[in-house]
Amino acid sequence: MGTACGGAGTDSGAQGTAPTELRLAIGGEPEDGYDPTLGWGRYGSPLFQSTLLDRDEHLDVVPDLATSWSTSADGLVWTVDIRTDARFTDGEPVTAADVAYTFTTAAESGGLTDVTALAEAVAVDEDTVELRLERPRSTFVNRLVSLGVVPEHAYGADYARDPVGSGPFRLVQWDVIDQRLHADAVLFGWGSHDPAEMYNLYSSTRAGVEYWNPGFYASPRVDAHLEAAMTATDEATAVEHWRAAQHDGEGTGFGPRGDAAWAWLVNLDHTYLVDECLDLGTPQIEPHGHGWPVTAGITGWQWSC
């Protein structure tokens, strides 16, 4: 999954309040939900669940839920002690039984995480789990690093859409972006529409539907400039505010010099704006099809100022 981080705290106009919200623009979302036993988080860091092990900044294996782990001399039995103070978001403690349940379920589920090396997973006591393998496999450590632990008591058919875990984040609400037609318009595009087409199509509610993507970029100062530009009675004033909305000279704005670093085409409260500094070049007609990057037809784009 491609991920791009947007900036937090774009509310530079607000004084004295610490930002309490971190906003991330992630490239798409898993359609099949957040069930680790089906492959969610298979590259590590499953957000809502925690893993037995983790990797540090040097990619060395470090403990997460585990406190210690060892492999038997024949490589067949992995013994993992887990911490006793970890809790799921519903308040229940994370036990060795949950870990055993997770590995057993993943080994049988037929999803996108391969745990078929596992013969059985057994909780030998409250905080120790034994993972017994069919044959020695050193790469099994990657499953300990990537497989998020699910709670046995709260796992069911709707788990993928309503996950309970012991990870750093809790899923509060999932608004499926796809239902609003698009994922990350900037990085991934809408199939065959290039930014100019998108601007013409979706810059208003003309089509009868409000296309919006809440929270991509918000700044009261930018909003004020846009408002001023739209209500200006003469062109010179409008242009002045329009430019200030892109960059006000103090680091704020949706343009390339502003604080919306990804703002190549930026979504501001139902309205898509193409920066006037963006020169699209000569758009190509082909390739044409869904799934192409938004830049596919405009390979010659460049900043003109």
Binding site: S109, G110, G111, D114, T116, D158, V176, Q179
Partner: protein, 112 residues
């Protein structure tokens, strides 16, 4: 007098339409299934996608089993048809949700 003669005619027309719709849906379902079964694209390959190096043959077999790909096509189709006839549209593998729910959500107006 007019109502007495028109009533049955309207009913007959509606019945005919409904029958035609049922036949059309059956034909579409059959044709889609035949096309899908004969597609050169391996569904497991399509599902695994970029994770091909991380998914071994055992796991691929599990995926095929979960999806019922090992069963004969006719059996898969009749199972599906039987469930639809009972009002059960099944479970979407793409969305991990009941199909009826997935379709239902598309009809509900998008909330801001």
């Amino acid at each position: 007098m007019e109502l007495l003669t028109r009533g049955p005619a309207v009913l007959r027309a509606a019945g005919g339409r409904a029958l035609r719709l049922a036949l059309l849906l059956a034909a579409v379902a059959t044709a889609s299934f035949v096309l899908m079964v004969n597609s050169p694209v391996d569904p497991v390959d399509a599902y695994v996608g970029g994770d091909i190096a991380a998914i071994g043959p055992d796991q691929r077999a599990l995926i095929a089993e979960r999806w019922g790909l090992d069963d004969p096509p006719l059996e898969r189709f009749t199972t599906w048809l039987g469930q639809v006839a009972q009002g059960d549209l099944g479970q979407s593998l793409t969305f991990n949700q009941p199909v009826a729910e997935v379709i239902g959500e598309r009809f509900s107006p998008a909330s801001p």
